[in-house]
């Protein structure tokens, strides 16, 4: 019996080699185990954080504001029409294994991303590059038709379909990271497990234990290695928020990088503490209406429901983190844009609309279901609140339909719902990242709503070179979306939260993109 105990202790001690005395210089809690850290394949935020420690794009995010700054490219030129970008790679840009990172390799990596067989979910980020959409959609079989070329070993030239004001930020995002061609050609999909893994970012992958941690060490061949202040970083993976909080409170974790891994019910209280940082985040919660079946086939009914929901009650009673109540889809301030106000809270106008649609006082209105995904107190309470507001103001009976995550997604995609909770987190700081969800042919639309006027407005906006006029057209499109057709109505914009004591951890700033690059991060005192 006690032999068993002894043996077990030996296994435990021998297997890990991560004793507390062995604490890394900086320890982060990153939330759930990443699904993959392959820059072109990954989609999750936790996944992206690891990838951005190991790899870098031609540009990288400025830690103070989330905007693009020089990365593997030291500079770039933009043609007057805003459609051609020429990036100049740094001569000192090298893989950690010693090889030079060439312009050819950058172009090869981008072709890898758009080739359908790579199965990159984020390949849509390349739609702004000439032929990107056609290749991803399988209309063009030859990925070398992508509008990106390498005129010489250190120059990458990109031809865009449209002037794209956020293109430099796109290039800083994971799916645009160059990846080591030789390793991938030799090892295929499993290249990411290669040892040593060729890295281009500030850190090297020293260890990876599933559901435990990634251990990173400073990459001496990183072009900006002198600025990297931290020698060793441990990035923990785990999905219990209370445990993450315990570790943080005990000082075993210096930074909790994701709101999802901070206990939701404590959010409003924790946000008051000096070691928790609250910020406006590029995300929005909204309600989708199923426009393909009764009663939400009728835009008047959708508008009536949108006007009967008092969003400020939801933010004041349920979310309680200072979220901005908003009936729009784009959070205010995204890319310098001011969204339309959306339909106002106006129960009497809502009642008038409902009776115009044939349901005076809610008479004859079918019982409808509000679908949401389980797992958050906020979604459930929002459902209850919506239920009571619609009963009170419109005389409509709503039943709540909580679904487990994958079932919820499947039902939403199959348009098997009446109205349903939804949310979106922007991929780049521009309203387009929210508005293109509701294009007629978008796989993320999930409302059944198709409107050629809306599609045309987004097309016109994309082709518009003048930034002010462009935002004006986008505003027109969003007005159509959230005030007239209303296949979707906003609830509130997200508030982000991360745990880091500014007296202990430096080089990290709150920004809308929630981008916290590792090259600048450091522990100020032990």
């Amino acid at each position: 019996m006690f032999l068993v105990l002894l043996v077990a202790f030996l296994i435990l001690g021998g297997g890990a080699g991560c004793s507390p005395a062995d604490r890394a210089d900086l320890v982060l809690h990153n939330g759930p185990e990443p699904e993959t850290i392959d820059p072109q394949i990954l989609t999750g935020q936790a996944d992206g954080r690891i990838a951005s420690a190991l790899f870098e794009g031609l540009t990288r995010f400025n830690p103070t504001n989330g905007l693009a700054m020089p990365g593997l490219a030291s500079r770039w030129d933009i043609s007057p029409d805003g459609r051609t970008y020429t990036f100049h790679l740094r001569p000192e840009a090298r893989w950690s294994t010693g090889e030079v990172i060439t312009a050819d390799e950058v172009v090869w990596s981008w072709r890898r991303a758009v080739t359908p067989t790579t199965a990159a979910d984020y390949a849509s980020q390349f739609f702004c590059i000439r032929n990107g959409r056609a290749i991803v959609n399988g209309e063009l079989r030859d990925a070398s038709q992508l509008g990106a070329e390498a005129p010489d070993a250190r120059t990458v030239r990109v031809h865009l379909e449209n002037p794209t004001p956020y293109f430099l930020e796109l290039v800083a995002s994971r799916v645009f990271f160059p990846v080591p061609r030789k390793a991938i050609e030799q090892q295929g999909d499993q290249w990411i497990r290669a040892d040593p893994l060729p890295c281009s970012g500030p850190y090297l992958l020293e260890g990876w234990r599933v559901n435990d941690r990634f251990r990173l060490r400073r990459n001496p061949r990183y072009w900006d290695a002198d600025r990297v202040a931290t020698e060793r970083i441990d990035i923990l993976s785990g999905d219990n928020p209370s445990t993450a909080l315990n570790l943080f409170l005990k000082g075993e974790v210096d930074l909790i990088s994701d709101r999802k891994i901070i206990p939701g019910e404590l959010g409003p209280e924790l946000a008051q503490r000096p070691d928790f940082q609250r910020f406006d985040y590029l995300g929005q919660d909204f309600i989708r209406f199923n426009t393909t079946r009764k009663p939400f086939q009728d835009a008047r009914v959708r508008r009536a429901v949108a006007m009967a929901i008092d969003r400020s009650r939801i933010t004041a009673r349920i979310t309680r983190m200072g979220e901005r109540a908003s009936a729009a889809v784009t959070p205010a301030g995204t890319g310098g844009y001011e969204p339309p106000a959306g339909l106002p809270w106006d129960p009497s106008a809502a009642r008038a609309l409902l009776s115009e649609a044939g349901y005076p006082g809610g008479r004859g209105f079918p019982v409808i279901e509000y679908t949401f995904n389980v797992g958050s107190r906020i979604y459930e309470q929002t459902g209850v609140e919506v239920q009571s507001m619609l009963r009170e103001h419109l005389g409509i009976r709503v039943e709540l339909r909580p679904l487990e995550w994958k079932t919820y997604l499947a039902e939403m995609s199959a348009l098997n719902y009446d109205f349903i909770r939804g949310s979106w987190v922007g991929d780049y700081d521009d309203p387009m990242t929210f508005l293109d969800i509701f294009l007629s042919d978008s796989g993320n639309n999930r409302t059944g709503w198709k409107d050629s006027r809306y599609d045309r407005l987004l097309q016109t906006a994309a082709a518009e070179a003048d930034p002010r006029r462009r935002l004006g057209i986008l505003r027109q499109a969003e007005t159509l979306l959230v005030e007239e057709a209303v296949p979707v109505t906003g609830l509130y914009s997200h508030v982000g939260l991360y745990a880091a004591d500014p007296r202990k951890v430096g080089g990290i700033w709150a920004n809308r993109m929630d981008e916290h690059p590792f090259f600048s991060m450091r522990r100020l005192r032990p």
Partner: protein, 304 residues
């Protein structure tokens, strides 16, 4: 002897049944591994993703492919963790769960057997009371209350032990106790009942009548028989402990298999889910067999 061979031979059959049931039942659940919040970039991309995992083939062929791989010991790629195979994930996490389980088993037996035995002897009333209280508390307090309580007291207030993670021996103390105490309480109950029963039995009376000392009577004659109920429960109990407790591993952020039991279903990671079920079934069969063999060795009545 023949019956033992038959039992061993049945193990692969049982695994095949489990794999088949798992394969088809999981496909009947709504939602699949490729239903994601963000739709794939295009239909082509989605089709390519499915083709990669042979989802473009008819179900029967996928099943045969799965069985074929299984026969070679390959549990397939994880459908969620794209850089890992199921074998790889189990290979990384099983040793962790095994060591935690073994330690908790040690606590369960190491505490449960003496406490139960002493309580049954009834020589000390206080011992009986303490044992009953421990047993009651151990059985009644669920792991998800005991764990946070231990973390709060020993981790956050007294700062004696780490609140989570896995690596150093001191990481193991709280999770081992959390997981082990409940089973210790159950073992002590089985032990106490077994012992009380045995002490009344004729062979113990006979031993006493021979004039043997009470210690010899208890240790040589009563204890082996009193252990029988404990041994017969030990197999399934060990299987429970070794496959990792989701609650304890999640609470202490221990990189064992426990997380996959729950999460692989929620993420519809079918291959991982079936891998877990197979692993659990196999362990259960082997340990049941083991505890039956042990019983046979300890208890001459079974051999007859």
């Amino acid at each position: 002897m023949r019956s033992w061979i038959a039992r061993v031979a049945l193990i692969p059959v049982m695994l095949w049944v489990v794999a088949t049931l798992g394969f088809f039942l999981l496909r009947a659940v709504p939602g699949g591994p490729f239903d994601r919040e963000r739709a794939a970039a295009s239909r082509e991309v989605e089709a390519a993703l499915k083709a990669r995992y042979h989802w473009d083939e008819p179900l029967w062929r996928q099943y045969l492919r799965y069985l074929g791989n299984l026969a070679r010991g390959d549990l397939g790629p994880s459908l969620k963790y794209r850089n890992h195979s199921v074998n790889d994930l189990l290979g990384q996490t099983v040793p962790v769960s095994l060591s935690l389980g073994a330690m908790a088993f040690g606590v369960a037996m190491g505490l449960g057997i003496p406490i139960g035995a002493v309580a049954a002897l009834g020589r000390y009333r206080w011992a009986d009371r303490v044992a009953s209280l421990l047993t009651l508390v151990g059985v009644c307090i669920p792991v998800f209350v005991l764990g946070p309580f231990l973390i709060l007291v020993a981790g956050l207030w007294l700062e004696w032990l780490p609140v989570a993670l896995w690596g150093h021996w001191n990481h193991a103390v709280l999770p081992t106790l959390t997981l082990g105490l409940y089973f210790a309480a159950r073992v002590s109950r089985w032990m106490r009942e077994g012992m009380q029963e045995v002490l009344k039995s004729p062979h113990v009376q006979a031993a006493r009548a021979k004039g043997l000392s009470e210690t010899v009577v208890v240790v040589r004659h009563a204890l082996p028989v009193a252990l029988l109920p404990v041994i017969s429960y030990a197999g399934p109990m060990l299987a429970d402990l070794l496959t990792g407790s989701f609650v304890v591993e999640n609470l202490f952020q221990i990189p064992g298999t426990g997380a996959f039991f729950i999460n692989s279903f929620f993420s519809r990671d079918y291959t991982m889910m079936i891998g877990m079920i197979l692993f659990y079934s196999l362990l259960l069969q082997v340990l049941n067999l083991g505890s039956d063999l042990l019983l046979r060795w300890v208890d001459p009545r079974i051999r007859a």
